[in-house]
Point group: C2
């Protein structure tokens, strides 16, 4: 009798986020409640665990532990960078058939959505009943159809707070500071730095996203103008910032440096772009009176996706919600081959509703920033602020003595 | 009548911390209460503001604003890197004499303590009554006599949480990760990464501080052994890590790279050491079966001293306290030329008391880690954990599925 229900597999994939386990726990708790399947199997390290039949049973995990796991950053089941081709997907399907798997919940970005889609189609072709639900996560916020994706709000909160703190640091010891933020193709995370601006004169004074190509000449002119105006300059730049020829700054830099050093210099390290941009400013610009500028660079790195104890509350809640909705949709017999998406309910207050989007509409291609969010190639608009603020939630309360100045 | 009291100047100096304004607000609020002086002048950008007579009046700042400023990272009055020599100190004294300054509160590290000391001695020689109080702050925690310094606990909490999150990231996508932490001469901040270890197998698997010289050979052997044992390796390393010849890794690296590139490569950027160490591992080590290792590096940078909304509560409280004690000591007629220090009250619970330490015992030289805190040149002991844990306070609660494994 019980075995007629079959089993479910859940996995996590791609770069971790701070709330990816909220979605996992949402699925587990909902399935514990609705009794959808006999076994809920957690695949260790995503598709790799499925192929290797490396599963752990999740229905026995006590709620107290699940709540702690939900608050723990990075994939609790382990993640993977494997991007399955057709042959790999067939192995996944074989493992599913062997373990009587009837539901597949896959938490990940657009590559994971595509894997889920292919496996679902294979099962249909083989006549094996399998419902596939994709649960979105990505700090890049670059999934099509989705208004935004779980993981983004918390990473954006980290970036906004970090830039806010660095703005005060830079006010305190004026100079030029370059902060490199994650985002190879989409600028949503870097754009969130705009939320750090609370007073006139606050940084970031310049914001560069991959969607707005940037020449070295414009960059230097921008920095010069901002420094002249503010006596300091805080710059937020996407790691994927590009030049008008479509190549990224990082690609240009790698080419030039390789030539200089006969291939001896490795540029895979993550600090390279920030150091390069800081070096460019030091070389080409001067402080008034010909003085040397104080230029520094930081690359925020993995902290953006994994810093614990500082998540956006609405992001954590929504990440839990999409997991719950996936498990509920399965129990309600909703069509598989779906991604659990969010859209805003029209109205003055921020409110979202979920809906099922066909995987084909989400998979593979990425979403870019709306041009209306970018201004002058070096700034972010109020329209973006209105979009991002409710996803990030309240930022730390701060103050300056400017407020008592007469 | 009122003018008989004279005035006080307060300034902030050196690298900012997340709680440096708690000390500032402690002084302001206490002086508003005790009526010590006619005017409380805030010097903008430390000694530079004193010499330039760039002051703001602080007694008018409303408490609501002061509380917000107390929670704002980085020096609200502005900071400076100026290290005054004798001639500069004489200018400071002249400004004090002109503005009838009778009390000087200086919030800073050991250089600031020394500036305060020299100015105090100059005043004494000139027969100008001036009491000087040094209020400690430094994320490096390297002031002699002081059990610990305000600013350290919050930076240490940031580092411990960051490493905790990165440990989960590294568990989720196994590889080798190098995290570079602030601290040129003292390893206290890097050592705080040990607090991130909550379960067996948790990173940081290797911790390197400036006090324990490290050869490239030992570093590679350590990484190889840790990777073989754990299938991954998380490394916390001080930016000031040194080699047995007394030079830092950064100095060695600069020398070698300059030779390679005929001086074309700038190495002042902050990501360079991490990238160099990651590159070294990639070049010299291999995964089992000759596979390429996944190696990444992050440099935590300024976020360690300026990240808002994530301070250690005991650090914030103590930073406020030492400011209050400075202003109280002044009102009580305690001897100037003092640094407000903390020591632990013996007993099983963590409790501190303050005392006045002569500036000469604090100024100039820095404190290093006790050898009993370091183990095997690559690890930190439980004795250090016991020392640091109460300064950092509770860390985020986390969990893993290892806890349900049979």
């Amino acid at each position: 009798m019980a075995s007629a229900k079959g089993n479910a597999v859940i996995g996590q994939s791609g770069g971790p986020t701070s709330v990816i386990n909220q979605s996992l726990v949402g699925v587990i708790q909902e399935i514990k409640k609705n009794g959808l399947v006999d076994q809920l199997l957690g695949a260790r390290h995503g598709v790799r665990g499925i192929v290797n039949e490396d599963f752990i049973s999740l229905k026995d995990a006590p709620d107290e532990l699940l709540e702690r796991i939900a608050a723990t950053p990075a994939a609790a089941l382990g993640s993977t960078r494997d991007k399955p081709d057709q042959a790999y997907c067939e192995k996944i399907f074989k493992s599913f058939a062997k373990h009587n798997v009837r539901y597949f919940f896959y938490i990940g970005g657009n590559d994971s959505a595509d894997t889920a889609r292919i496996v679902g189609e294979l099962a249909a072709r083989e006549g094996h009943e399998l419902k596939v639900f994709h649960i979105p996560k990505t700090i890049d916020n670059d999934l099509r159809v989705h208004d935004h994706t779980p993981g983004y709000g918390s990473a954006a909160k980290f970036v906004a707070a970090a830039i806010m703190g660095d703005n005060y640091d830079n006010r305190s010891l004026p100079g030029i500071k370059v902060d490199v933020i994650m985002g190879r193709h989409a600028g949503f995370l870097t754009a969130a730095s705009v939320l750090a601006r609370q007073h006139d004169n606050d940084g970031p004074h310049l914001i560069y996203v991959p969607e707005a190509p940037l020449t070295e000449e414009k960059f230097l002119a921008d920095v010069d103008a901002a420094y002249t105006k503010h006596g300091r300059c805080l710059i937020a730049v996407s790691e994927g910032v590009s030049q008008p020829d479509g190549k990224t700054w990082a690609e240009h830099m790698a080419t030039n440096l390789e030539k200089d050093s006969h291939g001896n210099i490795q540029l895979s390290g993550t600090g390279a772009l920030g150091d390069f941009m800081a070096g460019l400013i030091t070389k080409k610009l001067q402080a008034p009176g010909g003085k040397k500028l104080r230029v520094r660079a930081d690359t925020f790195g993995y902290l953006q996706r994994s810093f614990p104890g500082f998540v956006s509350q609405s992001d954590a809640t929504e990440a839990r919600l999409v997991g719950q909705v996936a498990a509920k949709s399965a129990a309600e017999g909703q069509p598989g081959g779906s991604s659990i998406a969010m859209r805003r309910v029209p109205g003055s207050e921020y409110k979202i509703e979920t809906f099922l989007a066909p995987l084909s509409s989400v998979a593979r291609e990425t979403k870019h920033m709306d041009p209306a969010y970018i201004s002058g190639g070096n700034n972010i608009t109020d329209a973006f602020k209105a979009y991002a603020a409710p996803l990030v939630g309240p930022l730390p309360t701060v103050g300056t003595f400017d407020e008592v100045k007469k």
